[in-house]
Symmetry: C2
DNA sequence: TGTTAGCACTCGATAGAGGTGAGTGCTAAA
DNA sequence: TTTAGCACTCACCTCTATCGAGTGCTAACA
């Protein structure tokens, strides 16, 4: 994988990738030799191109056309040649101006971030809210809907609201419920749901212990409310912008792409891959990839508050994406969102 | 508009519309004369077709092709010729089996309904949740997020949860908040938000009256939490199914359609049109329509619980939609959802 | 030995020609 | 009033020719 290229080859590969990013069309040797001043004739460039093709970094759609970078070629470009310039203060300030987080609910923030990412990059914005399991318990309330049916409302540290309908002992009074929620709010405050679950499991296994009636109920209600898996929330913005990209110009490809976007499951799977990475993670959907987002690349970064609830945001675009522009955008936005969750800024 | 056609013309129009619905291709006189036993030669059929074209009910894409119904033709078909058979018990039972509402949150129900509508019709399902303003107050809770910032959580009669970040007097204690919410919950119970707002406005104008401190705070918090407009929630399911329809087979049309679906505003505007109608409402997006959903028809019906919170659900498909199949589906689903909201069934 | 000019070749894209067939409008006969 | 017959239209397909950007190879050159 880590084959070393001499400088000339690197320069030419870089030129081809960048020209291809700009034009979406195969790049010929003449164009390279003319536009960039390598002082090489087309013939020499062709020799280098043939080598790069042999290495699997380039390919040609047909015998007599220019070259386009392969997935591997893009990967090499990203790993070795891509220079991501850090944003200066003014650019950061400009970027911040696009976001308005004041008095926004968690959902609104997620949605807004997706919209801005999409608007600025002109690709599709993706945001995955922090996973339920990693959120920090702040408060739980129970509201009676009908005989034996309660609405449990859970609020996390960051103001994320989850609700769930649960079945419960119909003899519970409003006062009971209030006591139960007071008890739970005191008991569980500051723990992640992960920790809450462990605690609940511990308590459940200590069944020898005699609990009073209410504490028993509290245990069972909180289990019902917090034990299940909760579907991850994904926000997709600007899907139609992808349809303007030449790689998705045919009806079949459009349909496939939109289907992929509709299946949140696939997106979650993709975004999860970035969760383990530190900083910006670039996923190049190569031709051979198991995941079926052919022709797409995904640039993600995690955001988190100090207590550690981790979400992921990013931009999905064609493999031929403007990485040097989108990477800093994603990077800085993730930092911004992290600070918003910690209420450092509004 | 209400031009009267003789029986033969009606029969032929109906045959053309139905064949066109099935095939999506222009219908020729030969096909009509052969497949349907009107005992008419193609030439006679042609004469009738020429008349129908003159009346604006049919048109031909070009001189020497068969006819396709115009928007007006479809409208005539829907108004006059379409026979919607009521579902029998078995069909209703089958339909019900597709839905699982047990212990579902409002959002889940809406999403599920959209999915099933789309799956059964093979078009795109739309559901608009009951408007905030028409929901019935059940409970409000305030949760402190940080100094001076509260999360107000509102729960409606049907279990719809809305939350909003509001600014508040930072000196309010947790006990204050509990008292305030108790007061509001007693005071506003059973009123629609519409009514709540009127009440709040009345109270605000009686400003001569001396209130105690807490009541004043209660007033201001409930105003902040309930006074603003809340964006309507729209659930779109199976958008990609539309891309398989021949009327949206070109890249440009696909792009336009997906853009329309992304703009929730447009969808809300469309669904709102059906809100005033009783029963099933059919909106044919004619060529000249102001609203930009060319080539689409929308079949909607309202659902509501007994207290009157009204939402709208429906199916959007090509104008060439299978009305006789989709209309009963939408109709019965709306009834079903209404009963679910009233907790008559699960 | 690396570089370059020259040349034959490939192949997608574009345009025009010709044929096919479904369907029409018109007319005249039944 | 209905219908058979006929000339005509036009989208669609296929075949062919041309064009041009780009390639690989070879031989000459610095």
């Amino acid at each position: 994988m880590a084959e070393s290229l001499n400088e000339r080859s690197q320069n030419i590969l870089e030129a081809i990738v960048e020209d291809y990013i700009a034009s979406a069309e195969p790049i010929g040797s003449r164009a390279i030799s003319r536009k960039h001043n390598f002082n090489l004739s087309p013939a020499s460039v062709r020799n280098v191109m043939a080598d790069l093709e042999e290495m699997g970094l380039l390919c040609s759609p047909h015998t007599s056309s220019g070259r386009i970078p392969t997935g591997k070629g893009f990967q090499y470009y990203i790993d070795t040649l891509l220079e991501v310039r850090a944003l200066n203060q003014r650019e950061k300030q400009n970027l911040r101006k696009n976001y308005r987080f004041k008095n926004m609910r968690m959902e609104d923030i997620m949605q807004e971030v997706g919209r801005v990412l999409s608007g600025l990059s002109q690709y599709t914005g993706l945001v995955m809210a922090p996973k339920f399991i990693s959120t920090v318990f702040r408060q739980i309330e129970f509201i009676r809907l009908s005989q034996g049916r309660l609405l449990a409302i859970y609020v996390s540290e960051t103001g994320l609201v989850q609700n769930k309908v649960i079945e419960a002992d119909p003899t519970l009074t409003v006062q009971d419920l209030e006591q139960i929620s007071n008890y739970l709010n005191a008991e569980l405050n500051g723990m992640t749901i992960q920790e809450v679950r462990e605690k609940l499991n511990d308590e459940l296994h200590k069944d020898r212990v005699e609990y009073d009636r209410l504490k028993k109920q509290a245990l069972s209600l909180s289990c019902a409310a917090l034990q299940d898996e909760v579907e991850d929330q994904v926000y997709v913005s600007g899907a139609s912008l992808m349809l303007g990209q030449p790689e998705f110009s045919t009806p079949e490809k459009m349909k496939r792409l939109i289907q992929s976007f509709e299946s949140k499951k696939l997106l979650i799977e993709l975004l999860d891959r970035g969760q383990s990475a530190q900083g910006v993670h670039i996923f190049v959907g190569s031709e051979s990839s198991d995941i079926d987002l052919q022709g797409c690349s995904l640039i993600t970064s995690n955001f988190s508050n100090q207590k550690g609830a981790i979400g992921t945001l990013g931009v999905i675009g064609p493999v031929r994406m403007n990485y040097s522009q989108v990477v800093p955008l994603v990077d800085f936005t993730a930092q911004l969102v992290s600070r918003v969750l910690d209420r450092e800024i509004e």
